[in-house]
Symmetry: C2
Subunit: 479 residues, 2 copies
């Protein structure tokens, strides 16, 4: 129950976030270092998100499977960049069944290695390709600084792993998935994101190309919300994933991997939340509308509850995820605050006067106070609420997009860039050298987020060194 | 691809099973001791099963959540029977992020301990009860002898964990879930099971009552297919899960847990499979019907494929999980064998003559050869196939139930029991002493499976020692 107020976002955004996650009942700290418990309300949100995403994966020919949680340590040694990237973060099983293991096992931080091993076993011919497998589960990375949903030692995600006959097909797959991620973020989560390519420094360990979607949070920091990687033949060579092509020649596969995690819940929170708490996009909200019946006397109660029960059934039948808050030990005001904290998009208030007038009061979560309140007839309420949910979804996306676009700037020079990235993003030409990227990071703590695929027609000069540059990149401080 | 035949069930049931799992493309051995990879075909079967079960859990007020994979070792010490039961099977993480951990972490073999710890934090008042949480995931038990789906080190399951104010409510929950499991096994998987109570010896480590569903496989061995436990206050006391009741008195909660795993896939295989391979119940089958177009010339091909494509769309639109096998590199005979191996309930054959006659040939998987073949008009095919799927589902359950009932006996004396359990089950009075249970196990390798809730009105004499007995129990060799 949400008795205490949150700090405001302006006061302390980080603390606002931490407290919101707990008070909105999304997650809790686990008694294991850096791990979280995703509570039922948070997990139902995740289930709604995963259902939408899973449907898109399946519609594009992907299938799900399950690979082991534990991976032999030696598997990580096989791809040089991969082991360098992940070895500091591994949790290692050294004992099993009371005995010391001959070879230590790693709790998977990601599954390219073990899936690559299996693909080498399964793939023989060009007829077996492409292999398009996804896995839903959790992975573990021994992170030092953790934050619920944004960076936890164990987190929940999907990881897709595909093998193809040609580089072209593998790259198409990488882009196809990136599009699915962007559509999902924008249309389901109302989180406007930019698609683009990561710099070499920011690439996944072992990838030849990493692409990402990046969103701007309300504190103007960037959040990498999902990534899609093209490996070329790196993993195929490390694990001998080979096929006989149509000319009867043995070839290495081209592979990809891609993942979206519970981090996206953090994106939703930080994109839409306000000082009263969580604000959820209706399409993924566990509860889309809550009914709060209001009464004082028993007589009022029986009249109000009759209408409330009928409306509950009507809205449920219409496919709205509806909740009745008939608690008798807390006040209506407490209930309002409670459901605002949990970000329920629509509140339906029914009091004795509403019963008389055959109306109800609707309060939309995205517009607090009078602005978001309307009085509508009980007749046709399911349709009215459904339409309101559509409006709220669109309105959240519009607001977030406007906020983002208002905070992206085109600095004239490096001095201006340094100021801008303290409280916004810069979209600037960059020569793509590691030196310039490192200088920006050192001077400002901002990093390159991604290089958008849509670029101006003209070339320009690197904002840092002035050398010719073909593409602009987003510079921003990031989570 | 299924090039080679299986050994027959009569020849070698165990080897028939092992090869079937691989050839039907359900699962593969992982490069980690005792672990499996569930392949897309097997995982889609599991997804269909979990969707049906999850729906029932939610319909009865349960919600899903996610608790960490790693559990502090000390948590296991808190419940004496629990640690004794599980400590030989633990996989232990001793290092994280390159350093030795202060306290080792265990890869969860089951989650009563960590969930109990969180419940103690969350539950304060009688108003917070009941807590009805389920978790889908995997657990790890360091098993020495493993067999795909039936007993693997890591396996996939759901584990429900509930907390209640009274013993009565907790026991009701245990039975409610047992009913859900039995209905699921019978109606979705067509696996007839008996509900009953486990003996003290066979109880879950830490439980006061363990109930189970038990099915008879075609080799007449029993398979425990799911369990539902009542813990009393054992875990509540170990983890201090307490609430203030309506009289303002601090009380310990009463808790339950319950689980159904990928073992149920083994039950489906061993209940319905035949010497040609897997036989899947239509309600959970990943592919319910496969279309095999048959042609020789290009002219035939274009005529046949036109009809096949139209039928594919019709059946898909009707909600049938349909697959088109238009491979051009294998013969029709190969395709027939291949889909029989994978247990697809209905095969739709379309050749040039069928095109002429506006008909198709339907072959039902549960009745091989001519008996299962029919020729039906193309008009109304979706309806005909839907009805056939319903018939197959019912027919599988009927056949399995008849087989089971024909192999349960009522031995007159202990000598007869010893013979019966070599090739069937005995339902016999038992005095419920550990001594008699142990004697049967030593003499025959059969164990008590469960004590059914429905019992004869009269009491009887223990089949082993002759002492008075109130209840009959199933004795059988088990997996």
């Amino acid at each position: 129950m949400a008795e205490e107020k949150l700090p405001t976002r302006a006061e302390n955004f980080a603390e606002w976030y931490n407290q919101l996650v707990l008070k909105a009942d999304l997650a809790d700290y686990a008694p294991v270092r850096g791990c979280m418990v995703v509570k039922p309300y948070g997990w139902t949100l995740w289930e709604n998100m995963t259902a939408a995403l899973d449907k898109e994966f399946k519609a594009t020919g992907h299938v799900n499977a399950a690979f082991p949680t534990l991976i032999p340590m030696s598997f990580f040694e096989k791809e040089k960049a991969h082991v360098e990237g992940f070895s500091p973060e591994l949790a290692v099983v050294t004992h099993g069944g009371g005995e010391k293991l001959e070879e230590p096992l790693v709790v998977r931080p990601t599954s390219e290695t073990i899936i690559g091993y299996m693909y080498a076993k399964w793939i023989k011919s060009w007829r077996d390709l492409p292999v398009l497998i996804n896995q839903w589960g959790s992975v573990l990375r021994w992170e030092l600084r953790t934050k619920l949903f944004l960076r936890t030692a164990e987190f929940y995600w999907q990881e897709g792993h595909t093998a193809h006959a040609t580089a072209e097909e593998a790259k198409e797959e990488m882009f196809r998935i990136l599009d699915i991620y962007a559509d999902f973020a924008i249309n389901e989560c109302a989180v406007p994101v930019f698609k683009g390519q990561k710099s070499e420094t920011e690439r996944f360990a072992g990838a030849q190309i990493t692409t990402s979607i990046e969103g701007m949070m309300q504190d103007k920091r960037a959040l990498q919300s999902a990534t899609s990687h093209y490996f070329g033949q790196n993993f195929a060579k490390a694990f001998e994933i080979q096929f006989v092509d149509q000319n009867n020649t043995l070839q290495f596969c081209e592979t990809t991997s891609w993942g979206l995690s519970t981090r996206m819940i953090g994106a939703i929170i930080m994109t839409h939340g306000d000082d009263q708490g969580l604000v959820l996009p209706p399409r993924v909200a566990p509860i889309q509308a809550v009914i709060v019946p209001i009464f004082k006397t028993d007589e009022e109660k029986s009249k109000v509850m009759e209408v409330a029960d009928r409306i509950f059934k009507e809205l449920k039948t219409a496919g709205i995820r509806i909740k009745m808050d008939d608690r008798d030990n807390v006040s209506s005001g407490f209930k309002f605050n409670d459901w605002e904290m949990r970000g329920v998009p629509v509140r339906v208030e029914i009091g004795p006067k509403d019963v008389e007038k055959n109306s109800v009061a609707l309060a939309r979560r995205d517009k607090p106070g009078r602005e978001g309140k309307s009085f509508v007839p009980q007749a046709g309420l399911a349709e009215a609420v459904s339409q309101l949910l559509v409006d709220i979804q669109a309105s959240l996306l519009k607001r977030a997009t406007e906020f983002r676009d208002a905070n992206i700037h085109d600095p004239r020079d490096y001095e201006e860039l340094k100021k801008i990235v303290q409280d916004g993003w810069a979209l600037s030409y960059w020569c793509e050298s590691k030196a310039c990227e490192a200088k920006v990071k050192e001077d400002t703590k901002a990093t390159t987020r991604n290089i958008p695929f849509e670029q101006p027609e003209h070339e320009g000069a690197c904002i840092v060194c002035g050398q010719p540059s073909k593409r602009k990149v987003y510079f921003a401080k990031a989570y």
